[in-house]
């Protein structure tokens, strides 16, 4: 997995609440057996008109946000299905961090498995970042995971919380499965004990 250490980039404002996984990647693009190539269809129904042309009003179609690496979003981002195609699509587009007041649990988890950082902040701080993101490509936001700090284009510093284990995995680019495989002995022991306690399982 790619490491996430420090990111300086353009942030795109998406203030709509409850942006769901069907919006992030509509189901007709789930029929893939690969993880890559979904970026072109991220937000497809908002991003493209019926004839396939770009909807000029959609934020990521505006010149100043085409290179965005950060999304500042409304409440409950990523609600809906468990599809990991949602973070895959965002990552493939180039998004590396999403900032909101809240995320749906499964989406939140899926981000970390793909080197992407979801950050939860209170409304007042989201308001500050939303305003900063509205400045477009003239403004760069910096996210420092080690220090757990976001610095706005004006130099305002906002601290954020992150789960220690998830932070460690992102900073080191660690693969969860490899880590768990190292605990094979503990899994063996659990299975032996569980087979006695609950043989019907």
């Amino acid at each position: 997995m790619e490491k996430f250490e420090k990111l300086t980039g353009i942030a795109a404002p998406m203030p709509l609440v409850n942006i769901d996984t069907d919006m992030i990647i509509p189901k007709n693009f789930l029929k893939t057996i690969k993880r890559t190539g979904l970026g072109v269809n991220a937000f497809a129904e908002m991003r493209y008109n019926d004839d396939g042309s770009e909807n000029p009003d959609f934020v990521l179609n505006k010149d100043q946000y085409r290179q965005a690496q950060i999304i500042v979003a409304g409440d409950n981002f990523g609600c809906g299905s468990s599809r990991e195609h949602a973070p895959w699509a965002l990552a493939d587009f180039g998004i590396k961090a999403v900032i909101s007041t809240s995320f749906a649990d499964i989406f939140f988890n899926n981000c970390f498995k793909n080197g992407m950082l979801p950050i939860v902040l209170p409304q007042e701080q989201i308001d500050v970042l939303m305003k900063d993101s509205e400045k477009g490509s003239n403004a760069r936001m910096t996210i420092d995971l080690e220090a757990q700090e976001i610095t706005t284009s004006d130099g305002e510093v906002i601290k954020f919380d992150v789960d220690a284990f998830k932070k460690h995995c992102l900073l080191e680019g660690l693969d969860d499965i490899g880590l768990t495989m190292n605990k094979a002995a503990a899994i063996d022991t659990f299975e032996t004990q569980a087979a006695q306690a609950r043989p019907w399982v």
Binding site: L30, K31, D75, G80, I106, I177, F190, E191, P199
Partner: protein, 473 residues
């Protein structure tokens, strides 16, 4: 004496393999359900790293999202991408030796209906699947939730998940339900109350008299939509209703093991005085038959209501509601019962079980669907379909003018050809009314099977209680 525990605490504690200093746990997974959409990349990952499936006997795969539901589906899948996904599952199930119900097997169906029906899902288990509606299995008092594809690969390889414990939330439905009010109305009413983010970070335990009174089918409907309320998992403590449902199913324990299992299952309840971080209480007798008007499952109103205005809301919801009203093509102040529909969909992991089909058939018996309405019944599994046919429900549906389909996810998410055309409006028993969910530009109103059947007959959203009055008269 140890501190009182919730049901969630008890199941969690019984499955912790190891715990790190920061509280992150490795949790053992008893059942891993797999479908064709969220698994190909996970199996591919195993192949690339030379890994095996650790516990193929605890892994159950079934294609459901992409499969056609037409009667001639044995001829194969027309859409190339869909066919590739289903073929990939066929191959992966065979190569890795997991339990498998192919499209040709009568037991094939929606993964969340197949698991309980065949006795794979049992009380006190941990159950996961790369699908958010895994919450369904919580109806048995098993800790069940959706996972992403990276986690699917993790469970395939290690039979465990890296997890931090969620908070405990209690949703109590007191008293009795009124006539015409169903499990679907309960679960929608709860989401209407809490919002789609209300359960985020929590595992919900549903309790109270109205929950106790539900059948297993109804309990599965309630838990199924825990995720629409933001909770990864919903739980209901197992009781005699649960044990009676499980007993005798193909993969349920038998003989001495049944007795041993029963002894443990009877300890699976929340202890007196256990702590809940959040509590929501609704009075069962105050819940009305409900429908959704917007594009979020929290957009719930009693069928007797009217379409709201965006200005009725606060904060970010004002813009979201305006967008929903525009997408849904609805004018504020319109009576919900005056909303005309084009399509009726009865099915899905929320409402595709035998009891749901019986409820729809009860309304449809001796009636015809309205002119211009297209209506389909898609049973949740081949076994549900066979049971319905044994009871003669298929004849009621066909006589009324509905299509009687083969099992699959179908128009709940429209990954197969069962889709709404742009602008078409659907009375649907499924679980999500998101923009484009049932087909690009399609408009979804969520409701119970009985209410969907009423809408099919009248051609507009209809209060099921009016049909009941007719029958009583």
């Amino acid at each position: 004496m140890s501190a009182p525990k919730t049901l969630y605490d008890k199941i969690w504690d019984a499955h912790v393999v190891s715990q790190d200093e920061d509280g992150t746990c490795l949790l053992y997974i008893d059942r891993h359900l797999v479908h064709e959409v969220t698994s190909p990349q996970a199996f591919e990952g195993l192949r690339l790293s030379g890994r095996k499936v650790r516990a193929p006997e605890k892994t159950i795969a079934v294609p459901d999202h992409n499969v056609p539901t037409t009667l001639d589906r044995a001829k194969g899948i027309d859409n190339e991408e869909s066919r590739i996904q289903v073929d990939a599952l066929d191959k992966n199930a065979k190569d890795f030796g997991v339990n498998y119900y192919p499209v040709s097997d009568v037991r094939q169906g929606i993964v969340h209906i197949v698991g309980p029906e065949n006795g794979w899902t049992l009380p006190g288990m941990t159950v996961v699947c790369g699908d958010s509606h895994t919450a369904t299995h919580g109806a048995f008092g098993s800790l069940a939730h959706g996972i992403g594809t990276s986690e699917v690969e993790h469970v395939l390889a290690t039979q465990t998940l890296i997890q931090s414990k969620s908070k405990n939330m209690k949703v109590e439905i007191t008293g009795k339900l009124r006539p015409g009010v169903t499990a679907k109305d309960i679960t929608l009413a709860v989401i209407g109350e809490t919002g789609t983010g209300g359960g985020t970070g929590h595992v919900i335990e549903y309790c109270g008299e109205a929950i106790r009174d539900l059948s297993m089918e109804g309990r599965m409907t309630v838990c199924n939509m825990a995720i629409e309320g933001g909770a990864r998992a919903g739980l209901i403590a197992p009781d005699e209703t649960t044990f009676n449902y499980v007993k005798g199913r193909a993969h349920a324990p038998k003989g001495a093991q049944w007795e041993a299992a029963l002894n443990w299952w009877k300890t699976l309840f929340t202890d007196e005085g256990a702590h809940f971080d959040k509590v929501v209480t609704l009075k069962g007798e105050e819940i009305e038959p409900v429908v959704t008007w917007g594009t979020s499952p929290e957009d719930v109103l009693p069928i007797s209501g009217t379409v709201p205005a965006a200005s009725d809301f606060k904060g970010g919801k004002v813009d979201a509601a305006a967008r929903s009203l525009d997408y849904m093509g609805l004018k504020p102040g319109t009576k919900l019962e005056d909303i005309k529909i084009d399509v009726v969909f009865i099915g899905s992991c929320t409402n595709g079980r035998i009891e749901d089909l019986r409820a729809a058939a009860e309304v449809l018996k001796g009636r015809k669907i309205a002119d211009g309405v297209r209506a389909m019944v898609v049973p949740g599994s081949g076994l549900v379909r066979a049971q319905a046919e044994e009871e003669g429900l298929d004849k009621i549906f066909l006589d009324a003018g509905l299509e009687w389909r083969m099992a699959g996810c179908s128009m709940c998410l429209a990954m197969n050809p069962d889709q709404l055309a742009p602008g078409e409006r659907c009375a649907s028993t499924s679980n999500r009314n998101f923009e484009g969910r049932q087909g690009k530009g399609g408009r979804t109103h969520l409701m119970s099977p009985a209410m969907a059947a009423c809408a099919a007959v009248t051609g507009h959203l209809t209060d099921v209680r009016k049909f009941m009055e007719l029958e009583d008269a």
